[in-house]
Symmetry: C2
Amino acid sequence: MQICESIKAIKASVSDARARELKIGLVPTMGCFHEGHLSLMRKAVQECDYVVVSLFINPTQFGPEEDFNVYPKSFERDAALAEDIGVNALFFPPVEEMYPPGYQTYVEVENITGILCGRSRPGHFRGVTTVVAKLFNIVQPDRAYFGQKDAQQVAVIKQMVKDLNMDIKIITGKIIRENGGLAMSSRNTYLNPAERNAATVLYRSLKGAEESIAGGERDPAKLREQLLIKINSEPLADVDYVEILSMPELQTIAHLQGKILIAVAVWFGKARLIDNIIMEV
Amino acid sequence: MQICESIKAIKASVSDARARELKIGLVPTMGCFHEGHLSLMRKAVQECDYVVVSLFINPTQFGPEEDFNVYPKSFERDAALAEDIGVNALFFPPVEEMYPPGYQTYVEVENITGILCGRSRPGHFRGVTTVVAKLFNIVQPDRAYFGQKDAQQVAVIKQMVKDLNMDIKIITGKIIRENGGLAMSSRNTYLNPAERNAATVLYRSLKGAEESIAGGERDPAKLREQLLIKINSEPLADVDYVEILSMPELQTIAHLQGKILIAVAVWFGKARLIDNIIMEV
C-alpha cells in the first residue's frame, strides 16, 4: 500500500491506475478506523480495481466549539488495517496541503443542510462538501463510499454530485453496530462505561419505532413522541434532535408512507452520537 | 459540428473524443459572439484536438435588477460562426437542464469576489463559479478558455481551479478591441451612437495611465485620480469603479510595482462596460 502525503503523489499513483483502465474507488475517512470504515473499504476492494482511502481530519467541517483538537487519531493502526484489507493507496495529507495560505473556495448544498445535523452544526456540511469535492477532483474515482450512519451526509453528497454533474457513483454501506446495538463511531471513544451503556437506548428506540410502524402507526408526531419518551427515559441522554423525514428529499411528512428516515442525534457526556434507520412504509 | 442540448448528449460526444485520447478544449460563452469569443475559439482549435463551446446565458450570475431577460441572443449566427472556426461541439442547454427543480448547490470563491465587479454585482461570481464548475464536470476539458476583458473572472476561476484541485489549465485570450479602442462586448449592442463614441474614453484613459507609469508615476492614488478626471470629462460616463490592484492577488497597493491590474467599470446609458490593462511596472 502506497502512503501519499502530497496531492501530487496521490495524483501520480491514481493516474497510473487510470492509465491501466482500472476502476477506481475512494473511501473518504477521518481515520480512527472501526468496523464501519473497514466494511466500506472491503466493499470498495470487492467492487473496484484500485482503492484509495483518504485519512484527513478536515478542520472546515468542525465548528469553533467542536472537537477538532481532540478528535481521536491512530495513524499506524489505521494504515495497517487498510493494508490488510487490500487498499492500494492511503492519502494522508497535512492540513496545509489541503488548505494552503490564501485558500478561499467553498462548495455549499443549501436547502437540505438547514435541518438535522446541519441545524445543530452550522457550516459543518459546507466543510464536508468542500473537502469531498476536493478529494473527488484529486482522486477522480469512479465510485466513492460513505457510511449510512451519516444519513444526511450521504443525502448532501448525492445532491452535490447531481447538482454539479460529477461523474461519480456514490455507494453507501450499512450501519455497523456493536453488540448491544450501539452504532460504531470514532466518537464512541469519548464515552465512559455508563454512557456507553446508556447510548444503546438509541438503537432500542429506533427498533421500537420500527415495531410501532409494523403495528400500524402512521402518525409521525406520535412516533416522534414515543422516541423522545424512550430516549429521555435514559438520564444520561441529552437529545439534540429526533426527526422523521421523507427519503431522499429529507422533507417533513404528515403521514408515514414510502421511504422514510428516522434520525436521532443525542449527547451522552462529551459525545454527540447520531443514529438512524431507513425503512419503506 | 454537433449541437447538443442535453448534458447526456454533450457527455457522449466528449467521451468519444476522450476515448480517442484527444486533447479537449472548452470555451464557455453566453453567446452573441463577437471577435473576442471567436479569437478564443480559434486559439482553442489551434491548441486542442476537440473543442467544445458552451452557449448558456446563465441566470445565476445575473442580479434581480440586471439584464438577464434582455441579454442579446443570436443562436443561428453563433452556431454558423463556431462551425466555420472548426469547433467540434456546441453545448446549448436550456436553463432547466442546468438547474433542474430542486437544484441547490453553489461554488463560491470568497475574498477576491468582494471587490471590483463582485462588489457592484453581489452574487455574480457565485453564479459564474457554479456554472463553470458544472461545465468543467460535464465536459472535463484539459484546457478552458476565458477572455482577459473579464480580468476578475479569470482570477476567480483560477482561484477556484487551484482551491478545488481541478485538473484543468486556464488559458486567457487578450482583449479584442474595435477601431477606436472600445473593448468588444455583447453589451455594446445596448449603446446608441453617442454612447458608443463616448465609451472609447475607457481605452484612452487606460492608455493614458500606462503612459503616466512609463513617465515615472508610481502613486496609485494619483493615477486613479487622473483616470477618474479623464473618464468623468465624458458627460455620458457614469463611473462604477476605477481600481489599481496587484496581480494576481487583487490587493490594493501603496506603490506601483510588479504586475498590476488597472480595471474600470463605467455605465454608458443601459450598458455597464468593463475594461482593463495588465502591466508589469
